[in-house]
Symmetry: C2
Subunit: 196 residues, 2 copies
């Protein structure tokens, strides 16, 4: 069934895995997709997947051409005073978004808004790879609500900065963006929710 | 040049005006479009436009099938204590978004994300018809920055609630959404910006 050894050129295997991964993630969502299923889709042994990608998350990040793997950025975000987690989170996210001319964040937003299956997949990934680890680092109630509020402000920042291009938010330097947005994210993470 | 009297059925004129308006708004943006240009595009006298639409804003709202005209909602939002403007603004916006099954907000987001000219047009309209009137009702500095921050949170709320469908923000009742989001919008409107 698996066609190991079919290819003499390793780069084809990698490309086949990425194609199979895109299909599997679209068909089953991020949570439902499996390394085994992706390997089967590419006609290779599951063990071979780990030769190219560390885990499902890394495969997802590569298949969807994310500008960065959250797993590589999270340690520096989570290290330090929880009272400044908002500052580190906003600073890191905007740095990644601003880091390339090609605006991969625009491609992600476009896909999410035009394709409900993609939106579902992106939601599962965001929760699993970013929001849950961030909230799990804190001693707080209402984690799910806090996570969805953080996401609302960050996605809205992306929309205002890169899609609607609202001045001056679209041209502010990263430090200035952090200064105005981080207090909101910090309240959503650790502050009182509601009007309190 | 103008073809007044061409149509015996008034509804055709209205439809022609909407088509001409869509084209004019796309070509010139919201700020650059004119009643005169739209009338010329539909082949009617400019004065006839006002038989069907109160002003450029009403024509825009109809041409883009907005769920509501901000001009009709703003008086109730702006009336009352400025300290509760965030509550009234978030409550009104989410009520409009939630009011129809067909989710016109999804159509708007989709058009903005896939079409930069539409995004430019929507930005101009948002600033002119919603953000500037709201900020002009307040005695505050940094109006443009405050306006873009308010927009970032409201557009992000729409993305989280209707596109990414992040639980529990996607299923919360309007009052609960207001309770968690209004303090952010209020800070952007009248509170200290930055880490202060």
């Amino acid at each position: 069934m698996t066609r190991t050894g079919r290819r003499s050129d390793g780069s084809d295997t990698r490309a086949d895995l990425l194609t199979a991964a895109q299909r599997e993630f679209y068909d089953r969502g991020y949570a439902g997709a499996s390394i085994r299923g992706i390997a089967a889709g590419a006609g290779v042994d599951p063990a071979l997947v780990y030769h190219y990608f560390a885990d499902k998350q890394a495969l997802f990040v590569a298949a969807l051409r994310f500008p960065a793997n959250p797993a590589e950025k999270l340690p520096q975000v989570l290290a330090g005073d929880p009272k400044e987690l908002g500052i580190r989170l906003v600073g890191t996210v905007v740095s990644v978004w601003d880091s390339t001319e090609s605006s991969p964040i625009l491609t992600l937003l476009r896909s999410a808004v035009t394709n409900p299956a993609f939106a579902d997949m992106l939601r599962e990934f965001l929760i699993d790879a970013v929001l849950r680890p961030v909230l799990d680092s804190l001693v707080v109630q209402q984690r799910e609500l806090r996570a969805s509020l953080v996401a609302s402000q960050l996605v809205g920042l992306a929309m205002a900065r890169y899609v609607l291009r609202l001045p001056p938010l679209t041209t502010l330097g990263i430090d200035d963006v952090v200064q105005v947005i981080a207090p909101t994210v910090q309240r959503y993470l650790t502050g009182p929710l509601g009007a309190g």
